[in-house]
């Protein structure tokens, strides 16, 4: 038995690698199994459910593409679709631009560096729902809301932040950007630190200006960091839920659905209307969008 297990002397390296691989897979098997049962199986099952009519109580009834047909015909779905992309298209570039700017300058200061970094990071580790409630109160009309109270004292007109169909979505997006900023700043700073200083020294000796250094050295060398953050933040904005739900609990996703993202619509369809099949169909759409956006971004940013 033990003799069989000892590796033949001819190829000791291969066997060593194999044994290590076995060990690794032995340890990985548990999470893989866990993921398979907890994540992948339900994901695949959602595809099946999306072709059924199921209210949780009775057995799912196969109805073909009816859920998808209903979705495409429903104006609310398209509004939710537009909202979701508004969060993505506005949120991702703004948050990246902001976080890069902050990281770029924060990287240069020494005094108070740690404190500033901690302050930027603090929102990221705060519970999203707690923060959403704080902002919700900030946005209230006077006399409750801080922002409107200040506006009032300055003799300016009140802003209807969360009660306006135009401003509600940007108002909520601001809080989401703020919440994610700290994380992006930290990652950008790590990226900046990983660029060898010799490049900068060489460029400065050659008399290259700061702007050119930024464009020719810093940004290209930061690409892996940027790709990661673009994908990460895009997925975050496509899945936005906490902020919206907590800031609009009275009229979830309102007013008039103007802030409702796809995830909130899925949640309501599933757990307030109990239309599981229809919710699954929407989930499939979200899954497809997430997949396409991620693949598209990876492809676009790799190629250049």
């Amino acid at each position: 038995m033990s003799r069989d297990a000892t590796p033949p002397p001819a190829a000791p390296r291969l066997s060593m690698r194999m044994r290590r691989a076995l060990w690794v897979w032995g340890f990985l098997a548990l999470p893989v199994l866990f993921y398979g049962v907890i994540r992948f199986y339900p994901t695949l099952d959602a595809f099946r459910l999306s072709f059924t009519d199921w209210n949780l109580m009775s057995a799912p009834k196969y109805i073909g593409l009816e859920n998808y047909r209903r979705m495409l015909a429903e104006p609310e779905f398209w509004q939710v679709f537009r909202n979701t992309f508004a969060y993505l298209v506005l949120g991702t570039p703004i948050s990246l631009l902001l976080s890069f700017t902050v990281a770029y300058f924060l990287d240069r200061i020494r005094f108070g560096h740690t404190l500033m970094r901690a302050l930027y990071f603090l929102p990221y580790i705060t519970t999203a729902s707690a923060m959403a409630w704080v902002w919700r109160w900030f946005y209230q009309p006077a006399p409750t809301g801080v922002i409107n109270a200040v506006l009032g004292d300055l003799g300016l007109a009140q802003m209807d932040f969360l009660r306006s169909t135009t401003w509600a979505l940007p108002s909520i997006m601001v809080t989401a950007i703020w919440a994610g900023l700290g994380f992006q700043v930290i990652i950008f700073m790590a990226g900046l630190r990983s660029i060898p200083t010799t490049y900068y020294e060489a460029a400065r000796i050659d008399g290259v200006g700061e702007w050119a250094i930024l464009r020719r050295i810093t940004l290209p060398l930061l690409k892996p960091t940027t790709v990661f953050l673009v994908v990460f933040s895009s997925i975050g904005f496509l899945r936005i839920f906490d902020q919206v739900y907590n800031m609009t609990t009275n009229d979830p996703g309102g007013p008039l659905g103007s802030t409702k993202p796809l995830v909130l619509k899925i949640y309501q369809t599933a757990f307030s209307s109990y239309e599981m099949g229809y919710a699954a169909a929407q989930t499939v759409v979200l899954f497809t969008i997430l997949l396409l956006v991620s693949l598209g971004q990876l492809w676009a940013l790799r190629k250049r």
């Binding site: 209210n55 949780l56 109580m57 009775s58 919700r136 109160w137 209230q140 009309p141 006077a142 006399p143 409750t144 409107n148 009032g152 003799g155 007109a157 009140q158 969360l162 009660r163 306006s164 169909t165 009275n250 009229d251 309102g254 007013p255 008039l256 659905g257 309501q268 757990f271 307030s272 209307s273 109990y274």
Partner: protein, 414 residues
């Protein structure tokens, strides 16, 4: 030491013997977590077990948000509760899903139910069978801030819609910038206003919200437009309040910045914590002809589909007990919800109570909406008002659009 052991042994022996001789049954009772409700049920179980030593009742509770999902999951797994609490609006889903069984006509004859409970119990009836009985019911009333009324020199709460407008105008206050610092009345469709509009205002303006079996929306009418116009005029024409003032109507009232708000019995517990001012309760105002209406709702107790044999028998006994006048008094005292039997509710003591009386009177003329998706239907009403107030959509158009949207919801469910 030994004596203790002996006692323990004797005790265990007697418990076993008595349990064995009477054929002990254990049944499970499910409800969602709400502190006072759980406490009241603990007391009721204790009383019930004292009367029925051969039956043990185990109370199982879940957070409200999970409750329905748990019931469904348990049903699928085949180990559901024997007696469970459900909102009357879930009855269709629970009946269709085979979660609950009809009450037997022997234990709960129709004549008994119909003569001894408030008429709103009919919302538990499907195809000639009752599926549950309420312990307590809830209705709406007008809460008013006595301090603000006094300051404005108003004697008492408004009795009619016209008085409500006049009082509201006197009570609203704005700062120099034109922002409300105090509203005459809260405008909060997300709160109870949608029920007020649906079952009260629509009727007071000569309309009806739905047909008799609640399958057809009928408020796309002159009355529907008039009622909606009257409601939005509170904001646009009379300047009595504004949506979203202090976030929620009940928060504004609690803060003493809203003179009036419409809310239900379930708010009593929370408002009892107010220390800064005295508040009163009045019946919802009547229209010019004196017509009043109200919206009543309730959680009922039903028997799980899985209960059979002696468990079913025990479950029936327990259900009869928790819907008895005696249990209702406990519920009123501990939870603050009104008894579901006129006999227990309309006692001299309750009718003389200034807080309970307006709610109780309402039960005689209240309606109970048969919702198919309460959150969805509320959303339709909220959107209608938002389209009028935020997007200046003409009222008639907004009402027509809402009626069509709600009809689509009903059609999908029926």
């Amino acid at each position: 030491m030994n004596r203790h052991l002996l006692h323990a042994g004797l005790l265990a022996g007697t418990v076993l013997a008595s349990a064995g001789s009477a054929g002990a049954v254990e049944i499970e009772y499910w409800q969602y977590i709400y502190e006072t409700r759980v406490q009241a049920m603990d007391q009721l179980i204790e009383m019930f077990e004292a009367e029925n030593p051969d039956i043990t009742v185990k109370q199982v509770t879940f957070p409200y948000a999970d409750y329905q999902t748990r019931v469904v999951a348990a049903k699928m797994a085949g180990n559901g509760p024997d007696v469970l609490q459900l909102f009357y609006g879930w009855t269709d889903r629970f009946v269709d899903g085979g979660v609950i069984q009809p009450l037997s006509k022997e234990a709960f004859p129709d004549e008994m139910i119909e003569s001894e409970f408030f008429p709103i119990v009919s919302a538990m009836k499907r195809d000639g069978n009752y599926y549950g009985l309420p312990t307590a019911v809830r209705s709406l009333a007008l809460f008013y801030n006595k301090k603000l009324f006094e300051e404005a020199g108003i004697d008492g709460p408004p009795q009619t819609l016209e008085e409500l407008v006049a009082d509201g105008q006197k009570l609203a206050k704005k700062d120099d910038g034109g922002n409300f610092t105090q509203v005459g009345m809260t405008i909060d469709m997300a709160g109870q206003d949608h029920q007020w509009w649906r079952e009260v205002l629509l009727r007071q303006f000569g309309g009806v919200p739905y047909n008799d079996d609640y399958t057809e929306v009928e408020y796309d009418s002159e009355a529907g437009v008039a009622a909606t116009q009257w409601y939005t005029d509170l904001v646009t024409a009379h300047g009595i309040g504004t949506q979203g003032f202090m976030d929620e109507g009940q928060a504004a009232f609690r803060a003493g910045r809203a003179a009036m708000t419409i809310d239900g019995t379930f708010r009593l517990g929370s408002f009892r914590g107010i220390e800064d001012f005295e508040w009163g309760v009045a019946e919802l105002p009547a229209n010019a002809d004196g017509l009043r209406s109200n919206y009543a709702s309730y959680f009922a107790n039903a028997i799980g589909a899985g209960a059979e044999g002696e468990e079913l028998e025990a479950a029936e006994k327990f259900l009869a007990f928790v819907s008895s006048p005696e249990a209702m008094q406990v519920w009123l005292k501990v939870v603050g919800e009104l008894p579901a039997r006129p006999e227990a509710a309309l006692t001299e003591e309750n009718l003389a109570d200034p807080v309970y009386a307006p709610f109780l009177k309402a039960l005689e003329y209240a309606h109970t909406t048969m919702f198919v998706d309460e959150a969805g239907q509320r959303q339709v009403t909220m959107d209608m008002i938002n389209r009028i107030l935020l997007q200046q959509q003409p009222v008639a158009e907004a009402v027509a659009e809402a009626a069509a949207a709600e009809q689509a919801l009903l059609d999908r469910a029926n």
